[in-house]
């Protein structure tokens, strides 16, 4: 049986982190506690080449899998939880035998 897929969350923060960037960091930490082993979270500086691949970068930017969830603001935590739960349950249904 395949191990469950991890949901990737990328936070692109300003090099000199502003209050919102720090709030996003704290938000990521809480999400990791809530979904242990199910999230792969990492942080990029807005000046990094990889961050620039997203095009215009408006930090803090939060990207869940391939969806830019928010740019320039802190996303709503409960809405983010719902998105993650929806993705996890979609993955489980896709992997369920006979489906």
């Amino acid at each position: 049986m395949k191990p469950p897929r991890e949901i990737t969350i990328v936070l692109i923060a300003a090099p000199q982190k502003c209050a919102k960037c720090r709030q996003c960091e704290a938000l990521l930490a809480r999400l990791q506690e809530r979904f242990p082993g199910q999230l792969s979270c990492r942080q990029l500086s807005a000046l990094e080449e990889e961050a620039r691949a997203f095009g215009v970068v408006l930090p803090p930017m939060l990207i869940v899998d391939d969806l830019i969830v928010s740019a320039g603001r802190v996303p709503d935590e409960e809405a983010l939880v719902q998105l993650i739960e929806a993705k996890l349950s979609a993955d489980q249904s896709a992997e369920a035998p006979g489906t």
């Binding site: 300003a14 502003c18 997203f54 095009g55 970068v57 740019a71 320039g72 809405a79 998105l83």
Partner: protein, 402 residues
Amino acid sequence: MTIYLDHNATTPLRPEVWEAMARVEFGEEPRGNPSSVHRCGVRAARLLGSCRERVAEAIGAQPAEIVFTGGGSEAINLALKGAVAASGRQAPHLLSSPTEHHAVLQALAELAASHGCAVTLCPVDRTGLLEPAAVAEALRPETLLASVMFVNNEVGTIQPLREIGRICREGGVLFHVDAIQALGKLPVKVGELGCDLLSLSAHKFGGPQGVGALYVRQGTRLTPLVQGGPQEGKRRAGTQNLAGIVGLATALTLAEEEREANRQRWRELREILYRLPRELEAVRVNSHPARTLPNVVNMTFMFCDGMSLCLNLSLRGICVSTSSACSAGDLAPSHVLKAMGLSDRAAHGAVRFSMGRQTTAEELTRVVETTKDIVNSLRLVTKPEDIGKCQDDCPCFLTASA
């Protein structure tokens, strides 16, 4: 593969245009200065003259009425500031609309500050249409000039310029038309518009960036913004950008040849984009239902942030435009949509799709499907009160990819 739907921002340079420009720069003879008296200079001057004739012919003007500039914004600034300075009047009254491009609005603000000009911005309706009656009502005895755009760059609304031009003529008021989004897409004839000044820009119709022109009706007094030479009939000093001007003239000729065919194609193609308000809930088309240039479709996706939608489309290779702009940690809603009466939230949810001559039905179908997916996902994670918010505590900055 990138799907480019931001042709109102700029259009790709046409290969034929690039070839014509390259012949100027890398021809058999060195590219001369049109002001020089030697053979290279004379060749350059002849080439410049033929470009001036082609541009004049396209808009129904005389060659001597064309002033080449370093782009559309410069043409607009020259028209407005040059006319006010040449009038010699103290604090004249100027008239325009709140949905004009920033080049007009900021030039007017500067004239208000530097020359004490009184500026009236006539209100537009919910589709961005400026009623000629509103212009007539706003005219004063001391009104010097009215400036109105032919086609709005964000929503595509076509203004009733003939009527406005007639009102200006009858009132003895100079009439400037910003035709930057119209040229190459609509017939633009200065005689029919009754305008004294008309601005255009090459990169909106397949030409190079950084070159434009201003039509100045014969007899219209204009003080140059740039001193230092007699070029352009003493109205714009500086050696002309010959390759750019050749590019402008070549692109304009091509765009004029294809104009009607493109418009007909865009009318058919935009029906694909109109699937979005039918297939997604809470989508508003912001453009005028009939008086709209068919290459533009501006829509508000309620409960969604236009900036986030734009970024996500970009991530999937689709380039569109959002009217909201990030400025010093704040997202400012589009001044055009605000003037049309949209709320901040509705304005922040707006996205502009602008087609070009190479846009295909297959591309638009992919855009519609991708947009639907992204909007549905974003609506899950967007709180209405967060739309357009950048909060006020962020030294937020904007950086484009290299």
